[in-house]
């Protein structure tokens, strides 16, 4: 079952101006529910545009974005068609119907922001509240939840992202870079989005900070069964954490499938200017040197398994 489906989606920046640029070109793509999907592609490949389409920040020039099978950008005229079929509709005057439809479009847009949580690049620059607690609570507050529920959500989000209880009363500006990043992530998780979309969540962090962030995301995803999309340049991180992968290039989804499938098409990957994990490069070199190792190895663990078999076999038979 697809949580999100992009149906022949195109997006053009500055249409009709001299700067017109096609960022997405007829993309059709399904994102599996409850999975972690990595989106990779070099700068300008259209991946950030695609992210913005998922929660209505941008509307496709052509095509539709479906969430649970419903178009997320329902236009007033579509709604009118829908409503005409309802018996209550006959009792409304034309003006009242127009107003009601307008309200409904806005309500759906708003709801979408809570259902699809977007974590931008360097989200720690968006922290603004006096305390960590208040900053994480900002989203749930806007959802109109009760004080009690908000407090529950904040603590839950803090647990997911590994923020200790005693940090909640501190100013977010007194925290380290890695901690700030996790507070920003918690602020989105506190809305309990069904879909969590993250743009380069680990950029600029040290290895430990990066592991904390990915573990937080993975913990949230596994516990709640939500769908996660991660945009990243790091193939090594993608290989470690994602189930599926999409490779974007020139506004198209060039490759899509399980990590194994995508990595097995290594040659295509280097053509679109991406870095292959170091371990996969090593395996390619070993194969060239005549060692019978599989092509689809992209984590250190898998490489150890494969090589142990091969190298110990020699020993064992002797």
């Amino acid at each position: 079952m697809y949580k999100i489906y992009l149906e022949h989606v195109s997006y053009i920046y500055g249409q009709g101006t001299p700067f017109e640029k096609k960022a997405l070109d007829d993309v059709s793509l399904g994102i599996r529910e409850g999975c972690m999907t990595g989106i990779i592609g070099h700068t300008g490949s259209g991946k950030s545009t695609m992210m913005q389409l998922l929660n209505g920040l941008a509307t496709p020039t052509e095509g539709r974005v479906l969430l649970d099978g419903y178009d997320i950008n329902s236009r007033p005229e579509d709604l009118l068609e829908e409503w005409k079929r309802l018996p209550e509709y006959k009792n409304l005057s034309k003006g009242a119907a127009k107003k009601a439809i307008k309200r409904e479009v806005l309500r759906r847009k708003r709801e979408l922001c809570f259902r699809v949580g977007l974590v931008m690049q360097y989200p720690e620059y968006q922290l603004f509240e006096e305390t960590v607690f208040k900053d994480i609570a900002y989203g749930p507050q806007n959802m109109g939840l009760s004080e009690e529920e908000i407090s529950k959500r904040v603590r839950e989000a803090a647990r997911f992202t590994g923020i200790e209880e005693e940090l909640l009363d501190k100013s977010p500006f007194d925290l380290s870079g890695g901690q700030k990043r996790r507070v920003a992530l918690a602020g989105v998780i506190a809305m309990r989005p069904e879909v969590l979309v993250l743009d380069e969540p680990a950029a600029g962090l040290d290895p430990r900070g990066r592991d904390y962030i990915f573990e937080g995301i993975s913990h949230y995803q596994k516990t709640t069964g939500s769908t996660v999309l991660i945009v990243s340049h790091s193939m090594e991180d993608m290989a470690r954490y994602c189930d599926d992968m999409v490779v974007m290039a020139e506004g198209e989804a060039k490759l899509h499938g399980s990590c194994k499938e995508v990595f097995s098409k290594v040659s295509t990957l280097s053509e679109v200017g991406l870095d292959i994990p170091q371990i996969t490069q090593l395996m390619t070199l070993l194969r060239k040197k005549g060692l019978a190792v599989a092509e689809d190895i992209y984590t250190v663990e898998d490489a150890v398994l494969a090589l142990r078999k091969l190298l110990q076999k020699g020993k064992g038979e002797s």
């Binding site: 070099h42 870079g177 190298l311």
Partner: protein
Amino acid sequence: MSDIYIHTKDLCFSYTDADGKIEHPALNGISVDIREGEYVAVLGHNGSGKSTFAKLLNLILEPTSGTLIIGGVELTGRELSDEEVLQLRKNVGMVFQNPDNQLVATIVEEDVAFGPENLGVPMPELRRRVDDSLSAVNMLDYAHHEPHRLSGGQKQRIAIAGVIAMMPKCIIFDESTAMLDPSGRREVLETIQMLNKQHGITVLNITHYMNEAAMADRIIVINDGKLLLDGTPDEIFTKRELLQSVGLEVPQCAALIHELRTAGIDVEGTCISNVESCAEIIAEYYAKTNLHREEQDV
């Protein structure tokens, strides 16, 4: 052996908070020598003190105590004149993390000219320096472009050109590739390599990417304001547990070699910091065990 360019002995630095109270020292007694023309990577987790170290070398911050000698000039224990500080900053350039924070002009060549112009470099010389710097980073074709329309990697190369135009002896890169995509990172790393190998510029590259650190001649690891390790990439990456205990890691290839050895497969060799030599080490071991087996078969 070439001359020592940067010498520090027991270098310390403490930040003071808003009330003027001295906080926990960010740098706590660093003693290190960096030779002219060396390419040194500086590793350490966030908050380890590595950026503070870089800022001391450029006198953005003044050491609290200890000795700092750069290019034979002692910079600690006395009042420095403005000219001396200016001279030092000309010699030790710095490239920061965010490309958008370090470009000041609206045209690429004007941005590159900003540094030397402020040093009072006269006109024909200025023109030559700007052109040379831009061609050194392979951006001469973009001389008349607007910096904000360039890619991240191109912007960083412009920032580097701006530093080179002041003809520095040493350039410090403070996580200059952190915000770039893989192709942008490659561009910048190739530029760094070229400046070091062809122009003999001393390079300090502060980074979180282990693969990037592996490209240097030498790695120093800073932890909790102190020098933890100092050695070649091959030496440093054999100390996997120690690195992990301070929040760092080793490149995937080095990790693989470690894992194989733990599993009792005694692959020989010390060059574990890059893909090619790791492949060689493993292939050699494979050939040896196979040969052994064939002998037994006979």
